[in-house]
Symmetry: C2
Subunit: 518 residues, 2 copies
């Protein structure tokens, strides 16, 4: 009997009909039953007469399945079957879920401490560059990657992709009027594109998706969440201006094909508000469609340029945010948690780099400061890198190698985060302008007269440069104090203290203090 | 005949009665007439039977005066007189006034580009230190100094002042209940003060004010505006908890004594909101009293800790602001100009230093960035310095010498500001996150498709680090472009350009570009 591990993937393959348009004309699905789980999953057409059904089991034990379709006669002998789900390997923690109000955890209960990065169009680059990106990711701390299904047309992104998601040929499924709008949007950033190819938006390109399958799987094997961006505005091919019917066909196809990868997250759009041709009602329809089609309930969100989406909508599991202000954003993480009562994932907070544009030219120091703010305030942040490159290979879009200074510091932060008791941090009021994080389960009160102490506290001073801080510990309790230099990545043991303690600090920016009750 | 220069000071001295309490029991005033000016000014008692009347003429020509008082018999022979007002010397520009909606100018029409600093308690330090402070100010760029009349009790401020503004003795004029509140406020910051002296708040100390006269005059001679703080909460002597009657007596005395100094500004309070014993109605009464008593209309404001005062009140000439947020404040200067429709003077935006507290430990780089933001957005900013010192001599309160790095950079900014055509800057929308300033008289439009150009523009990139910026100049006009490193204080000529111009920049923080139509 076939064996797959819990949160692994079962793939059933069938030969089927090829006449007409198999993407439209035929359907195939499976009813799957285990002891603790019973789902119906849709299959998809993968070209050359091949139909596939993918399934991710969430429990161990024996499962059975029954396949049906509107061309069932061609694969009658395979219609029923059984398989066994074995325990997951230790490195397989299952999909990431929302935990409590504001945190994220793998299905096996392990806290998920998100330190993401972004390579929007990495799967559209030359094979060699994609391999280099995978190698860079393998050596990095990043455990989430944002990237687009559709190719990207934008500044520094003018080469044609290796593969298109649709078959070329007679243009079908695109909205002429909306295409005109789209071209105008492109001009906002660049010169008008010259060569517009025609695509048939009713006919997918299997080679494209087979390649994407492999990339999602490779990320999964590296324990990197694939934050798949379903729509985006950086377009000259018309993929951002398809008719609603085609958008829905595409979303059903994506859900059928990728939901069974445990590392998939759905990002309905990047900068949805730069796609004015898609209304809020349509976004909600698309989001709800993905929610319905993905039987495993992978995380779903939608990412803004300026205006935050209404993250309170039911179909949204977490807030995938871009800073909507130049000066203050991650510093509001705890306020946004109160507003939206969902996990806050800052997916774009300006990239480390030196581009002309204000969205891509902060220092590593500033990016790391923003990571600390977001994390200690109970959310998480995403990295990106935008350094000018002689061949326009920029991590943010193309992948490749990292040129900046922030990644090791983000890894350092993640290590400290991983060591926090209970795995989840929340912020509480501190003295003056410090940011104070304590464990989810703990409480702390601070007034001018006194403060109580949690068994673990992380105090962060950001751009402040205190030469000392005074801590009023209880006389009858002992606290282990460590001085953390978040930029130079050092942790200095400052001893065990009780009562009034004046802790010397190096009067540099980006310092933190870790305090643990002994 | 007595000659004084325009905006200089006439001082008339009289011997008068000394029985009873001369501060309360006697009054003296003068009706003064010139060709273009006719005012009535109050005199004040200066101890030892001496009464004085001070007057600042705002016009040239011949003036006459007539003195009256409720003890006129003792100085009958001096009751009338004449004097001549000569043209002001070039270095005397007169008092600073509001100009237009949001700018400041001297009375002679010279733009006043405020780069202030703060030494709250400098006049209360030992004579040698005060002389050192004056010497530091003389060598600095600062043209405004904030300081308190009353001595200061606070962290790093525990020594008794050299002189008290009131006579010691039996406690009179303080509110017992409010004094208790005041002590509690002190505890918020420090241990409870031990030695509380009794003062008679109906009886000023002439020696104190004679000394203050000299300091205000010395600042005037260095063209430094004296931003005199009338009330503040850092108190253990009871000067923050006087009865309303005593507060009013004090304000009348201050107005009579100091209004004739052209460099005086009135700051009703520092951190008024830490003085909950004084109601908003009382502040408005006090502000209106100063407005009425100061016949020259010197600038008047009131400074917050957290909550901004309602700066729209009639008696307030400008907004004297402390940042009310850790992360974003001066960046809102242009918005606050819209809100209050008055000049914005950021008198406290965190001091350069290394104290434990978040109000006193940013880098010089960050302080200078805040100056650029405030200035280019049409307001102005104030400096302060708080470096730990073995003898607790900290510029912010005590004066002395500067230890930080920001002052030369503020001087550099002021030089650029002074060179701006017309003398007044306002901000307009820029591309991405740049801050763009143009002259008051100019207009500029920026859209994604095109932008118009003012004859002078200053573009600032703050913590952004662009390696280049693209400027779409008209083909038929020429623009002189300079690259300004606001931290390293260099101005590099980048040539004359027309049409699309890609300007290389060093991909460092705190860069600006100055563009002038040729």
């Amino acid at each position: 009997m076939v064996q797959i591990e819990k949160w692994g993937m079962l793939e059933l393959t069938f030969q089927g009909k090829t006449d007409g348009n198999p993407y439209m004309d035929y359907w195939i699905k499976a009813a799957i039953s285990g002891e603790k789980e019973k789902v119906e999953v849709n299959g998809f057409y993968d070209g050359d007469g091949v139909y596939k059904i993918r399934f991710m089991p969430s429990h161990e034990g024996t499962y059975s399945y029954q396949v049906s379709g509107n061309f069932a006669d061609v694969f009658k002998e395979q219609m029923r079957g059984e398989f066994t789900v074995t325990p997951n390997r230790p490195e397989n923690h299952g999909p990431v879920r929302v935990r409590g109000r504001q945190w994220l955890a793998y299905a096996d209960g392990t806290p998920y401490h998100s330190v993401g990065t972004t390579c929007y169009a990495w799967t559209h680059q030359k094979e060699e560059l994609q391999q280099q990106t995978l190698e860079t990711l393998r050596k990095s701390c990043f455990n989430k990657l944002r990237f687009c299904v559709f190719p990207k047309y934008y500044a520094y992104n003018e080469t044609e992709p290796q593969l298109y998601p649709y078959q070329r040929g007679e243009s079908r499924g695109q909205d002429g009027e909306k295409t005109a709008k789209k071209i105008k949007l492109s001009i906002a950033h660049k010169k008008e594109p010259e060569d517009i190819t025609d695509f048939d938006c009713y006919s997918f390109n299997p080679a494209y998706f087979q390649h994407l399958d492999q990339r999602v799987k490779q990320l999964m094997e590296m324990s990197i969440e694939a934050d798949i961006i379903l729509f985006h505005p950086y377009d000259k091919w018309g993929f951002s201006t398809m008719k609603q019917e085609c958008n829905e066909l595409y979303l059903r196809y994506m859900a059928a094909r990728y939901s069974a990868y445990r590392n998939v997250w759905w990002s309905l759009a990047n900068e949805y508000d730069l796609l004015p041709q898609i209304t809020t009602d349509e976004w909600d329809t698309y989001g709800s469609l993905v929610q319905a089609q993905d039987v495993y309930g992978h995380l779903r969100s939608i990412h803004n340029c300026i205006a935050f989406y209404d993250y309170t909508k039911d179909w949204i599991t977490h807030c995938s945010m871009q800073k909507n202000d130049t000066y203050k954003h991650v510093e509001l993480t705890d306020q946004f948690i109160e507003t939206y009562r969902k996990p806050i994932v800052w997916d774009e907070i300006v990239y480390e780099g030196n581009l002309d544009a204000g969205w891509g030219n902060i220092s590593g120091q500033e990016l790391v400061r923003r990571f600390w703010e977001a994390t200690l305030r109970g959310g998480c942040a995403g990295h990106g890198e935008t350094f000018l490159h002689p061949e326009d290979i920029i991590w943010w879009s193309h992948g490749g190698v990292l040129h900046g200074e922030s990644e090791p510091r983000i890894a350092f932060l993640k290590k400290i985060w991983d060591e926090a008791p209970g795995g989840y941090l929340k912020t509480v009021a501190g003295i003056f302008d410090e940011v104070v994080a304590i464990p989810e389960y703990a409480e702390k009160t601070v007034t001018w007269e006194y403060s109580t102490w949690a068994d673990y506290e992380l105090h962060y001073y950001g751009f402040g440069r205190p030469a000392f801080r005074r801590f009023e510990f209880p006389e009858d309790e002992k606290f282990q104090v460590e001085v953390i230099d978040t930029w130079n990545m050092t942790i200095q043991d400052a001893g065990i203290h009780s009562g009034t303690t004046v802790l010397e600090l190096p009067a540099r920016e980006w310092m933190a203090v870790r305090i643990r009750k002994v």
